[in-house]
């Protein structure tokens, strides 16, 4: 490893450590690869989010699980979870999608192919 490469690696590691420590660069809503055990669960069934309005604390995670054969997702329009829209993957029966909410606020969402399916996450 050359000196230059070592220096770059050190700078990158420092930057990552700072970000993790301060949370300054954390997204308002982070999409998670796996469902945290302590996440609040919202089941989806019969063309509805079973608990269409939930209230959580900043930093809590929410997991949506589809209970029916008809595919559904979770879709935040532009400006709600981020500047751009956040469109969750389509969930088949038994599949889940999780996100962590880092900032207080009200986050309205809907299902992309079923605009009449609507829900809300209130973060305190």
């Amino acid at each position: 490893m050359t000196f230059l490469t070592k220096a770059r690696t050190l700078m990158a590691a420092t930057a990552m450590a700072l970000t993790a420590a301060t949370g300054a660069f954390a997204d308002k809503v982070e999409v998670l690869d796996t469902a945290p055990e302590d996440a609040v669960v919202v089941n989806i069934d019969q063309l509805k989010y079973e608990t269409p309005e939930i209230t959580i604390k900043a930093g809590d995670a929410v997991t949506w699980t589809n209970q029916e054969v008809m595919p559904h997702n979770v879709h935040f329009t532009a400006g709600v979870a981020a500047e751009a829209e956040l469109r969750g993957t389509m969930l088949k029966k038994g599949e889940s999608w999780s996100a962590r909410f880092n900032e207080p606020g009200t986050y309205d969402y809907h299902c992309t192919p079923h605009p009449f399916m609507r829900g809300k996450v209130i973060v305190e």
Partner: protein, 433 residues
């Protein structure tokens, strides 16, 4: 126009001029093969000869054009190519929109129903929605194009056309990706009763109706609406929609805010209303069949929606024998005579989008069956002209042909073929009274 009764040197001269005239009238297809006139001379000669022997009133458009061109040539008149205007719109002008099976670009054909002659065409983008001012003052479309044919930056826009020159008189851009891209349903977009606004529907991310101020030439705003579909204007600022819960929504967008109220639920969950109701902007009558042919009717005014007693378009025996409505634009309503026309045939329950070969005609007031017309073709869409002696238009997407019938007798009068790739939507002007 006189033609010599016997072969004479003068006749031969005329025949020659007819041949040239036919070539002019037949246009590019003849022109492409003009270098090999020997092979093409037979049909052209036959047509010219036929034209020469056919009374003027029985001539085809091609024969008439050939004979006229021949006469001018014989008279020594020069050919002066110009850009033509269409005749002024009338109640028998009919617009045929061809969604072309979801192609990225599309066309609309403007036809004179009285003669079956194509008057002109307009180009559109992806799944454009056509509208026509009932008074004939303009026609327009909401359309979608992309930077690279079918990909790249998307632009939605409304285009207004002069009804005679077909030149665009307005081009109004819409907020990005707000048009609902869907197989074209006649009443998913609409003009307000004063022709001031074009209203278009947005499906995703949330139900909304876009207000395009045609008078000001600008997009105004999106109006949030409940989970409802289609747009039926009843006044300059009030329109109705059909909602998922089985009611109609009344939306008043005057004063900057949208006031939404819902009517009673007027149909059961298992009574499936088709995507193609008929509606008269002039009278406010909405005619909405179900998959089985039960006809719901409403009279929409600025103040309220009044529901009429539903009736069955098909008899009990017909329904037991698998008669059901089917096709695309399956319903037509003739305002002056208060008649309903519905495309029907024998079919499985879930073949509701296949073509039909029959039209039942009903008295909208009583529900009485007035006629059952055999169309003689696989018809996907129907409509009627709104004059006192209406024409019944039957459009076959498979044949790419508009068949034109007498609406009273059902007699086929004429047809227009080669209407694109998959023509589906028929629009008219209600301007006869």
């Amino acid at each position: 126009m006189a033609y010599p009764p016997k072969p004479t040197p003068k006749y031969l001269l005329l025949l020659t001029t007819c041949l040239i005239g036919s070539g002019l009238a037949l246009g590019p297809s003849w022109a492409q093969t003009a270098e090999e006139p020997a092979e093409e001379s037979q049909p052209a000669e036959a047509e010219a000869g036929e034209a020469a022997q056919t009374p003027a009133e029985e001539m085809t458009e091609g024969q008439r054009a050939a004979a006229e061109a021949a006469e001018k040539l014989a008279a020594g008149e020069d050919d002066e190519p110009v850009i033509l205007d269409a005749p002024a719109p009338d109640a028998r002008r009919v617009y045929i929109q061809d969604p072309a099976h979801f192609a990225a670009v599309t066309q609309q054909y403007v036809v004179d129903g009285s003669t079956g002659r194509v008057l002109g065409m307009t180009d559109g983008g992806f799944l454009p929605h056509p509208v026509a001012a009932e008074d004939g003052s303009f026609f327009a479309q909401a359309s979608t194009v992309f930077e690279r044919i079918a990909r790249g930056k998307r632009t939605d826009y409304v285009e207004v056309f002069d009804p005679v020159t077909f030149q665009p008189t307005a081009d109004i851009e819409l907020p990005e990706a707000s048009r609902f891209l869907v197989g074209t349903y006649q009443w998913m977009n609409a003009l307000t009763t004063d022709n001031k606004y074009l209203l278009f529907y947005q499906f995703s991310p949330a139900p909304a109706v876009g207000l395009v101020n045609l008078e000001a030439g600008e997009f105004e705003r999106m109006v949030d609406v409940p989970d409802c579909y289609h747009i039926f204007p009843a006044s300059p600022t009030v329109f109705y929609m059909n909602c998922r819960d089985g009611s109609l929504a009344r939306v008043d967008f005057a004063d900057g805010e949208a006031e939404v109220t819902n009517t009673e639920v007027f149909h059961a969950e298992n009574e499936l209303l088709i995507n193609h109701p008929a509606f008269s902007l002039r009278s406010g009558r909405l005619v909405w069949p179900t998959y089985t042919g039960k006809i719901f009717q409403m009279d929409l005014t600025e103040d309220q929606a009044s529901f009429r007693e539903p009736f069955e378009a098909l008899t009990e025996e017909e329904r037991a024998d698998d008669w059901r409505p089917g096709g695309w634009q399956q319903t037509a309503y003739h305002r002056q005579s208060n008649r309903i026309f519905l495309l029907v045939d024998q079919r499985d329950e879930w073949r509701h989008k296949t073509a039909s070969r029959f039209v039942v005609v009903m008295n909208a007031e009583t529900g009485e069956r007035l006629a059952k017309l055999e169309m003689g073709h696989e018809i996907d869409s129907i409509n009627v002209s709104q004059d006192a002696e209406p024409l019944l238009y039957g459009l076959s997407a498979g044949d790419k042909t508009l068949y034109i019938y007498d609406a009273e007798s059902g007699e086929e009068l004429r047809s227009v073929d080669q209407l694109g790739h998959g023509p589906q939507i028929i629009t008219t002007h209600d301007m006869d009274s």
